[in-house]
């Protein structure tokens, strides 16, 4: 396909112009782009809060910000990153864009609901930002009662409402994906011919649909306690604040899988494409996504080991938490087995995939540490836990997110990103990430508690290392922001299938036409069948 043909072709980007054509669009690809812009802004905001936190922690005394401000900083960092970046990250952008294309559909089942879900995220985000501008919120992203219901004087109500509204955005995205996968597959696209990215997003949809309403109703109760002074979690009345923790984690633990499952789906695509082999054990990887979605609902009690939960409950939750590690491990082993005798190319997305596999493994294994009752008592609410979940959320999800963005960038924009710069930034992200968070494992093990802005002198070296790492990480994140923007205009024009990948999304033009395919494909082969790929392959590396 030559350059001229690409530019003349009508696609989803040049079909119509103007702000209105974007804000009222029902095209899943345009909505994905809207999400992409929105969550990039949220990511930058969360990043600014993180930088302030790390700057404060450079020195042992709390000298940059007051303890009240520090409480607000880590709360707002958590709220923004969890509810407004990580939860929508992969599904709302790449899921939205590619799930329909990968199963050969013209759009999601409910395009208007898809647009509505973006507006809900905007409204929720506006409420949360209002809370921050008005004075901030200081409860931690976990909103534990009775502090959040009775004592905090910050903007809990506005923040809770914001998360409530954004939650419905997430529910509607999940609902849309589930119905689309059930009802919109192209002829011949059987369940077990679907790419694993689709399976991962389907499993995520199940969690979004079953879990999110529970946090919604929990926040309704917190809202009612603050506004109408009812007393469901109020210990003064005989209520139980730990009930809040149960309800909160019933959603918020599965929410961890909302954040990481779609990322795992991205990695399956990347590992297959860049080793030019089908994913090893397709069925196991597909079902491990479903297993994570199901078992993930039964492990929430491991957040309550020191909250006065009964020992027997603790034992069961500990066992189940080990159990949920099995499907995650299946994925890691199968990706590794896919590499074996593969024809591996080290393009940027693959570098991110390697980063994901290594860092997620560390994050997952330290998850086993904190899932064991005795060890958890020692490290609860320390930097060990912080490091553990940042290895999964940042080392896992954000690595896969960036990998996916680079992988599908030519499809979404029709332009290649600059490979050299991209590789450099992937390397910087990897180094910066480890420098930031590995010292935090040691800090936590030595007893540094989370959520303090002052600390004893002996922790300073590790904190300085961590802050230095955060600066490197920031550079690593800023670079793609610049060169991806640059590539929109100056990037090399990409063909339909720059990676020589077999998925349906590579069989249509880059960027795809509004209805994705000129003619709805009839699928006659399994996923990841490289034998019939006739695409051009760009030499990398």
């Amino acid at each position: 396909m030559n350059t001229a043909a690409v530019q003349e072709r009508t696609n989803y980007l040049n079909e119509s112009y103007g702000l209105k054509s974007w804000l009222l669009t029902k095209d899943h690809k345009r909505i994905a782009v809207l999400y992409f812009i929105t969550i990039s802004v949220f990511f930058a905001m969360g990043g600014v809060f993180a930088s302030l936190i790390r700057t404060e922690l450079l020195t042992p005394p709390g000298d940059l910000v007051s303890s009240e401000t520090y409480n607000k900083l880590f709360t707002m960092h958590g709220v923004i990153m969890v509810f407004f970046f990580l939860i929508p990250s992969v599904p709302a952008t790449m899921g939205n864009f590619f799930l329909p294309i990968m199963i050969g559909a013209r759009d999601l089942a409910f395009p208007r609901i898809n647009l509505l879900s973006w507006y809900l995220l905007i409204v929720g985000g506006a409420l949360a930002i209002f809370a921050m501008v008005a004075g901030g919120v200081d409860t931690g992203w976990t909103f534990y009662t009775p502090y959040s219901t009775t004592y905090s004087n910050s903007y809990v109500i506005a923040t809770a409402l914001g998360i409530f509204v954004a939650g419905f955005s997430s529910i509607l995205t999940g609902l849309n994906f589930i119905v689309t996968v059930h009802r919109m597959r192209a002829p011949g696209m059987t369940w077990f011919r679907m790419p694993l990215f689709v399976w991962a997003n389907y499993a995520t949809g199940v969690i979004q649909v079953l879990g999110t309403p529970v946090i919604a109703v929990t926040l309704v109760l917190v809202f009612c306690e603050r506004v109408f002074h009812i007393g469901i979690f109020d210990p003064a009345l005989g209520g139980d604040p730990v009930l809040f923790q149960h309800l909160f984690w019933f959603y918020s633990h599965p929410a961890v899988y909302i954040m990481v499952l779609p990322a795992m789906g991205v990695i399956s695509e990347l590992v297959s494409t860049f080793s030019r082999k089908p994913v090893f054990g397709y069925g196991f990887v597909a079902f491990s996504s479903m297993a994570i979605a199901v078992i993930g609902f039964l492990v929430w009690g491991h957040h309550l080991f020191v909250s006065g939960q009964s020992l027997y409950a603790g034992l069961v939750f500990s066992f189940l938490s080990y159990f949920v590690a099995i499907p995650s491990a299946i994925k890691v082993f199968n990706w590794t087995a896919t590499l074996y005798k593969g024809s591996i190319s080290y393009a940027t997305p693959m570098l991110y995939a390697f980063g994901f596999i290594g860092l997620f493994t560390i994050g997952g294994l330290t998850g086993l540490f904190v899932a064991s009752l005795g060890m958890d008592v020692h490290v609860t609410d320390t930097y060990f836990v912080i490091a553990h979940f940042h290895y999964v959320m940042v080392g896992g999800t954000i690595m896969a997110y960036l990998g996916g963005v680079h992988y599908w960038w030519p499809k979404m924009t029709g332009r290649m990103y600059p490979e050299g710069w991209a590789k450099l930034s992937a390397l910087i992200v990897f180094i910066g990430f480890n420098l930031t968070f590995f010292p935090q494992f040691i800090l936590g093990y030595l007893g540094m508690p989370r959520r303090y802005h002052a600390y004893p002198d002996e922790f300073q070296v590790l904190h300085v290392l961590s802050t230095a790492g955060a600066s490197v990480l920031a550079v690593g994140y800023l670079m793609p922001a610049i060169y991806l923007f640059w590539s929109l205009r100056y990037g090399e024009v990409a063909g339909a299938n720059p990676w020589g990948a077999p998925g349906l999304e590579w069989q249509t033009a880059s960027p795809p036409p509004t209805h994705n395919f000129d003619k709805i494909p009839v699928v006659t082969q399994e996923a990841y069948d490289f034998s019939k790929v006739a695409g051009e392959v760009i030499e990398v590396g």
């Binding site: 119905v179 919109m184 649909v209 309403p213 109408f228 209520g239 709805i520």
Partner: protein, 226 residues
């Protein structure tokens, strides 16, 4: 599924471009509504879980507090809601038969029953307010038990659960109003009445929630030995 069917099928304004057939579209809409109702079950489920925990912690106080509710009015309201479900079914049936006037007639009846329910509910809440049984009131007091804290928890749950249910009724009333308007404009026929069908699913769901709420909130003391 196959795209040839698309051309063979009668072109309809109601068929959206992402679907191949009207059957596929109806299936998708219905499945979507069922999944939404599952989220609603989880949504109410959080409150039912809280109810279960506190009722097992304070069984006696819950029984005493429950007996202060007006069982007769609650029973009448239950009947009103069941009647509204019946008229909703009749509206869907009229939709299947394409009888536009009957659709409007039964939907308006459903709407009226729904509003009656909300009116009675408002009356009951006012009554509770006057009896100082609202948890936010400084003068809150429940006769017959020294445990005013758990009594407040019962009424917190009562107002939260019936309030959430009523909010769903209000949404339902809004939904019905839109459907009635669209029916009068001639949008539906025997070939296309999916919105009536799935609004019916929603309406019945909200009714079923009440079928659980009524005994759990009003009839507790009838389970305890006297």
């Amino acid at each position: 599924m196959a795209s040839e069917v698309h051309n063979a099928h009668v072109e309809s304004l109601a068929l959206r471009e992402q679907f191949d057939t009207e059957e596929q579209q109806k299936d998708a809409s219905t499945l979507g509504m069922w999944i939404f109702l599952i989220t609603e079950i989880m949504f109410f489920g959080g409150m039912f879980a809280a109810y279960t925990i506190y009722r097992s912690a304070y069984p006696t106080v819950f029984a005493i507090a429950s007996s202060s509710l007006n069982v007769t009015v609650g029973a009448i309201n239950t009947c009103v809601l069941l009647l509204s479900s019946f008229t909703m079914v009749m509206a869907v049936r009229a939709g299947q038969l394409g009888q536009r006037k009957m659709i409007v007639f039964f939907l308006i009846l459903t709407l009226v029953f729904g509003c009656v329910f909300l009116g009675v509910k408002a009356y009951e809440w006012t009554e509770k307010y006057e009896e100082h049984h609202m948890p936010g009131q400084a003068a809150f007091h429940l006769e017959g038990t020294p445990l005013q804290g758990p009594a407040k928890i019962f009424f917190s749950l009562y107002f939260a659960m019936t309030g959430l249910h009523a909010a769903h009724m209000v949404v339902g009333v809004g939904l019905l109003s839109v459907i009635i308007f669209q029916t009068m404009k001639g949008k539906f026929s025997a070939d296309y009445y999916t919105p009536i069908d799935i609004s019916g699913l929603y309406w019945h769901f909200v009714d079923v929630v009440w079928i659980f709420l009524y005994p759990l909130l009003y009839l507790i003391d009838r389970h305890l030995p006297k």
